[in-house]
Symmetry: C2
Subunit: 292 residues, 2 copies
Amino acid sequence: MDIKQLRQFIQLADTLHFGRASEASHISPSALSRSIKQLEEEAGSCLFERDNRSVALTPEGEIFLTYARDSLAQWDTLRTQLMERTGELQGEISMYCSVTASYSFLFNILSEFRRNYPKIEIKLHTGDPDPAINRVISGDEDFAIAAKPDTLPTGLAFKSIALSPLLFIAPKQGIEGKHSTLPILDDKTPMILSEEGVARKRVDRWFKEQNCKPLIYAQVAGNEAIVSMVSLGFGVGVVPKIVLENSPLANTVEVLDITPSLKPYEVGIVTLEKKLKSPLIRAFWAQLKSEL
Amino acid sequence: MDIKQLRQFIQLADTLHFGRASEASHISPSALSRSIKQLEEEAGSCLFERDNRSVALTPEGEIFLTYARDSLAQWDTLRTQLMERTGELQGEISMYCSVTASYSFLFNILSEFRRNYPKIEIKLHTGDPDPAINRVISGDEDFAIAAKPDTLPTGLAFKSIALSPLLFIAPKQGIEGKHSTLPILDDKTPMILSEEGVARKRVDRWFKEQNCKPLIYAQVAGNEAIVSMVSLGFGVGVVPKIVLENSPLANTVEVLDITPSLKPYEVGIVTLEKKLKSPLIRAFWAQLKSEL
DNA sequence: TCTATTATTGCGTATAACGAAATATAAGTC
DNA sequence: GACTTATATTTCGTTATACGCAATAATAGA
């Protein structure tokens, strides 16, 4: 009976699904199945009633669940106690951010943190920007670098680290199939937009305010891909300025001087409010410099 | 961090000695050293201050110790809860007894228990009779089959299962070097006695009451060996009747009709009183038939 | 009946744990 | 002061354990 297994048990009790629980625990379903079986043998009771189609906690499983939660809480308390005594925080925190964000912000954020808390390990996961906030909400990550949505989901804490204007960009050599190279933006202009996310919402609203519908040429996941497609001449795109600054294709596109300009991207760090009780999370949070 | 490691930690905290703690935990010193180191890494603090000559708990170790004790207690509570629910006791209990006792009593004691509680595993350790009670006191074993000492150490519970007379035995063909084969018992009679234990104490007292000192030819560990040596003609021995009955050499020795006879051996099962709170221990204890 | 879903099991492999012996180090001894 | 003793730790080779993949089984839905 070790702590990892308790966590796995709790995951399974929450999801009642071996596949999803194992994924959340970063192990294979077979490993989870064996873990649970071992737990049941050590506890001496069947903890889950399960057949090939359903998983349910037995009454004994319910008892075990409260035990498991208590046990983990006590382990956390112990670690907090010990850390307070030694005065040096240690452990690990996880962070999610887009590739672009990792280029732009990570160094500044992490270098000082690393200096102050050398024993805290940081697990960094990169990917598309869109799922960032959800990964924090689901508990997969402690932090994420993300654009602040217009309405912040409840329970989330957000701290700005930078403002970056949302820019309309066009290919320097003109849009394929269009004769004019002038920066015209109307319902005939093919647009390359994010599939979703804050940038997309801003663009949609912008067009609505202009009383016209955008001609969407392509919907793309990932701001870098937008720059690529714009650079290839497929249309006009919208990306945050930071993305452009970090793009190797920056000099192949030009920024359009459109008014009214889009409300700027507010980039920051999000975490669950309740996690701020943990000393590690709070330490990281506290040393972030709010740039706004 | 698993439960085995917590037990090992507690052992080390109790003994403050890697060698003894590892022996008590049934692992090698090296394994214990690594376990503790791993625990320290997971806890993020140094738990023991140690050099090659001494081991001491750090303040963090003290905190960890209370955590470890609580944690184990909760695990026990959980298991008790679960067992009460399912109604079937399971787990394991350990028992120590001499080889002779295993021949004579074990079957009767265990066969019914096995039937009533098939899921309780019994770990049986056999060896010399003398250390039996100490192994219970030290916590190495849950139970021991042992002779009841004249004064029972406090904290110990004893339940008799049999009375067996202590017999003087002599070789049938006479004692080597003595011409008479008569059953004389005086300070010229070479005696084969236990090194220690209840039987030895009784014999010593018997001789004192006869106002004579025994001529001790050999002190032997293990009643079986006494029978062997008597059988070979080295002298007169004292063994419990049960031992004789189970000895393949029984017909090579004869029982002397000595008066006053020795106070009989009272064989029974001992356990720590405080262990009787555990449901497993109590179940075993309850089904023992007191034969006295 | 067939298909899709999903917990479990077999199996080969990678990882971790173990014990024995070697090592290091400090205290006691002559 | 060299030598012995005691004892925690490290090294090393072996063994056991845990894991992932793929196969299996079993069930609900089409």
